[in-house]
């Protein structure tokens, strides 16, 4: 090979190296761009005013007074046109339209046969996507199912292991209509998840004070976007979150200060992912994001409008928040 050829080959080699460098640079740039895009996608800062109409806490609008005696749970029909309130001491579920007009009631005192409708101590309530109403009754160890107009359908029959017993408190549904129940059976405080046919598909938790353990779990809610499960661990004064497989994620409401919970009872999650928790001994509603970051609270102790005395149940439909105000015997309506 002549010297010229060698020079040519040398130049060609240089050119190839340059091309490779340029190519690598482009690949690196592309990687950086992809990384930046992915970062922006997965670390998107929440929009503060997701719910149209209001930034920050909702505003009190009005209350429903329905001759309640120890009201506890509240829920709405899927379209928000009907409000269901568990009037526990009267052993009824009372129905109201969106304007607060009474629409009748259902339930009544339990008969001796468990196959008949009726309550002993109705507690919490949830409505599935079909508009069917589920009401828990710990004393009778049952969850009753009614249609949207209050017609009794049947008792929910848990399909689980032989000898299964439960002591149901809170009830909720996910977007697939799986039924989530908090259970306060002595020594077994836990979460039960049933599929639409009543088969027990998952249970987790036990009685205790550690992560993933409960002491009288009451309210339960599922974030329909992430599938995360939030449980009001009432006697442990906290809310715990879990993934859809029941794996413990975080504890909410135990940091000192405004975010602290005293006796959380019920949970409702807005479409924007704000986790609303009634704090019965704090006499307010605490609001967190789904990661447990405290956002704000609303309500104070008292008997005036917008004040609470032992808030219990909570439900959200659209921009409306319904809060059961137990000792004031009313359901307050707040709006975003």
């Amino acid at each position: 090979m002549s010297i010229v050829d060698k020079e040519i080959e040398k130049e060609a080699l240089k050119a190839r190296k340059k091309k490779i460098k340029i190519l690598l640079g482009l690949v690196g740039l592309l990687a950086v761009i992809i990384a930046v895009v992915l970062f922006l996608i997965f670390n998107k800062k929440p929009v503060i005013n997701i719910i149209p109409g209001r930034v920050g806490p909702p505003a009190y609008t009005e209350s429903i007074y329905g001759d309640f005696n120890w009201p506890l749970g509240v829920a709405t029909s899927p379209d928000g046109g009907k409000i269901y309130v568990v009037d526990s001491n009267n052993r009824k579920v009372k129905m109201f339209d969106r304007n607060g007009n009474a629409q009748g009631d259902f339930g009544g005192e339990a008969k001796s046969s468990s196959k008949q409708p009726g309550f002993s101590n109705p507690l919490y309530i949830a409505v599935n996507s079909k508009g069917q109403v589920y009401v828990s009754d710990r004393t009778m160890s049952m969850v009753s199912i009614f249609d949207g107009n209050g017609k009794f359908i049947e008792r929910f029959t848990p399909r689980a292991e032989p000898g299964f017993s439960w002591s149901p408190l809170g009830v909720a549904f996910d977007d697939k209509d799986n039924l989530y129940v908090t259970d306060a059976t002595k020594g077994k405080h836990r979460v039960l998840i049933f599929d639409r046919n009543g088969y027990l598909k998952l249970q987790f938790g036990r009685e205790g004070i550690g992560n993933g353990e409960f002491s009288f779990p009451n309210g339960i809610a599922v974030d329909k976007k992430t599938g995360r499960i939030f449980v009001a661990d009432s006697n442990n004064a906290r809310v715990q979150s879990f993934d859809k497989k029941g794996k413990y994620i975080a504890t909410i409401g135990q940091a000192k200060g405004k975010s602290q919970l005293s006796h959380p009872l019920s949970i409702a999650i807005s479409d924007s992912g704000r986790v609303h928790v009634t704090d019965a001994f704090g006499h307010n509603v605490q609001v967190y994001d789904t990661n447990g970051k405290f956002l704000y609270n609303f309500g104070t102790f008292g008997v005036k409008e917008g004040q609470f005395m032992f808030p219990t149940g909570i439900a959200i439909n659209g921009n409306r928040v319904y809060v059961v105000d137990r000792e004031n015997k009313r359901v307050q309506i707040w709006e975003y």
Partner: protein, 378 residues
Amino acid sequence: MIDVRRHQTRTETLRFSSEARTVKKNTTFKEFNGMTRTLRRVFCVIYRRTPLIAVLTLAFITFTPTLAKAASPHGPFSSSTDKCSTCHRLHTGLSHKLLPQETSLALCQSCHTKGTGADTAVMQGIYIDAQNPDQSGGVDNGILLGGGFDRIGDASETTGRHQVGVAGTLPGSSALATDNPGAVITLTCLSCHTPHQGPNYRILRRRPGDVAEDVAVQSWVGNYEQYCEYDFDPVTTGVQGYTDNYKSGIASWCGSCHTTYLTRVEDSYDAGDKYGKSTRYRHGVDVDLAGGRPDAVTKVIYQPMNTDLPLEDLTGNGRTPDDELTCLSCHRAHGTDAQMTGWAEFDPAERGILPAGKDSMLLRQNDRTMCIKCHRVL
């Protein structure tokens, strides 16, 4: 990782017990010294103690749930406890006891009414037990030994109760009412119970009615057990019906408020009725089934061993003649659904003691059927 088992096999005399701590020389272990030997010893000890460690681990796993059940706001309390904040607000309390409510009643009811925070539903008078099915496919919740304030289970409303949260009239003279029979007082849950634990059965206050000295109430089952009538094990107790869980002190405790009912069976006092101060006789308490009290005016014939009424078992030897009748043998502490009819029907107003209205006076059973549970009448 060191194969401890192999080394142990090679070393026949290797023992780390108190009898033989010397490691024989000229064995595989001789090349190890200092820390290495110590490490091997630790592994060997762990290996040799494997069964013990396994048992301890199993025990830990088994009992951890029990140990973890410490979420009751009633204690126990420690220097690092956070339980005070459950019921108290240091700077923002709404009552003089720094409670997050103006009265204690609503606070107590939050957990003890619907079963949302406790198994004892005291307003309804039941102990909720999902693991106790009844014949209809539901559950058979036990009736609380103390009964309920509003109802007795699902069956019926109470016909007599200790008035809580509203003004009521106190039968008999009382330390609470400055020896004024028929005085009007307002009881709260805290009149009888302390939410902070204590030495007494069922977290009863040490000094009911603010008496000068502590009044001890003891049972055989501890402070937090045996809440309801059926909640006992007939295999171990051999008794059907009420559990013999009371040990001592109940009459003295009740008598701290109802003072005249604890004095001698024959005594002179003003019962607040038309007879004014005159000699009064009353059924004795702390009466053993065998012979009654030494100061008894009359003695009756008993068939006490057949009674299903709860008694105080001082010695813990089961139902024996030395068991004693106490206030709760005939009365419930919270409320009762017993019906009083005919001769047994009682209007307290007729005696000038209580407001008009039929009242079962917290008696456990209909009419006066408790009488023949002890007294032979045929």
